[in-house]
């Protein structure tokens, strides 16, 4: 990447999906509030919540304005929330390391996203949340990492509650997106 200081703002639509209760809203709110707002009381998301935040891509001149759609995880809302997935650029899949079914269901979430966004295979990030609950972990790192690798996705382990690595999935999303932009420029310059 060029070291010239060109300063480009990219805009990116990110959808956050996964089973209800895995902590999607907590992750999004902690990231958006720079760790100052953890929702202590569970409020089920119905439909989609939206937040926007800029993030600088390290060692580059790119800043990515993330338009984050925090989607309801309850199956009853799947048809409703998937309407918000159109024209997404990046997808973040969240599971709870203490709930194996939330990990097993990632395959179903992946299929649903790919069915609803057929134009291209969306790049994305698999997020293992609640890693602070060490004595209750039922889905081990290797399983999550393998699922991510097999589906060409990035992998992050975080705890929204303890504010551990909460920024990492969003940094990964911004990096993936700026790389896609850079690749596009190289292709266009080669034509």
């Amino acid at each position: 990447m060029s070291s010239a200081n060109f300063g480009v703002l990219l805009r990116c639509k990110v959808i956050v999906v996964g089973d209800a209760g895995v902590g999607k809203s907590a992750i999004v709110q902690m990231f958006h509030s720079k760790g100052s707002h953890y929702p202590r009381q569970y409020n089920m998301t119905t439909g989609c919540d939206f937040v926007m935040k800029e993030i600088k891509v390290p060692e580059s001149d790119y800043t990515v304005e993330l338009h984050i759609y925090d989607c309801a995880g309850q199956s009853v809302f799947k048809d409703l929330t998937s309407q918000y997935w159109k024209n997404s650029n990046i997808v973040i899949f969240v599971y709870d390391v203490t709930k194996p079914e939330s990990f097993q269901n990632l395959g179903e979430w992946l299929d649903l996203v790919r069915k609803k966004c057929p134009e291209k295979v969306l790049p994305g990030v698999v997020v293992a949340n609640k890693v602070d609950l060490e004595d209750r972990v039922k889905v081990h790192t290797t399983e999550g990492a393998e699922f991510a690798r097999n589906n060409s996705l990035e992998f992050c382990q975080i705890s929204a509650f303890r504010d551990i690595n909460v920024e990492s999935p969003f940094s990964a999303a911004a990096k993936l997106y700026s790389q896609a932009y850079q690749n596009k420029l190289e292709t266009l310059n080669g034509i």
Partner: protein, 138 residues
């Protein structure tokens, strides 16, 4: 028949909805097919061309990459305050290769400004290399 998609014929880009300074929207009107303007994420994206006086538009040829739905609107005012659609087209998916499209504009409408909206794209980012606007001075 003049090409009003060129800066050398008095056309300027008076607005674009996004910009990467390395690939400015002026690249669309520089007459060089190897330079381009690129969108920087999300749709729709727009640019507005201002002509040197009123022109009549007969045909528009576009050279683009990964543009899907394109809408063209004209303005006949002295300032770009109100626009009226004159053409809409969905371009074929070329998998990142160059799209060349030529459209006859029915009725040869008069315009002092042309607003171009990329309503959707085939990829995260779309590029415009050239807008050849065939017509005559009104």
């Amino acid at each position: 028949m003049a090409d009003f998609g060129l800066a050398s014929n008095g056309t300027t880009v008076m607005f674009s909805s996004c910009v990467d300074d390395r690939y400015p929207p002026e690249n669309i009107i520089d007459g060089n097919d190897s330079t381009f303007w690129i969108t920087t994420g999300l749709y729709p994206q727009q640019f507005i061309l201002q002509f040197d006086g009123d022109i009549k538009i007969d045909r528009i040829k576009t050279i683009t990459t990964d543009v899907r739905k394109l809408k063209l609107e004209r303005c006949t005012e002295k300032a770009p305050t109100s626009f009226e659609e004159i053409h809409q087209v969905e371009l074929a998916h070329k998998g990142g290769r160059v799209q060349v499209e030529s459209s006859q504009i029915s009725g040869s409408p008069t315009a002092s400004f042309l607003r171009v909206t990329i309503e959707s794209g085939w990829d995260d980012f779309a590029a415009v290399r050239r807008f050849t606007i065939e017509g005559s001075k009104a």
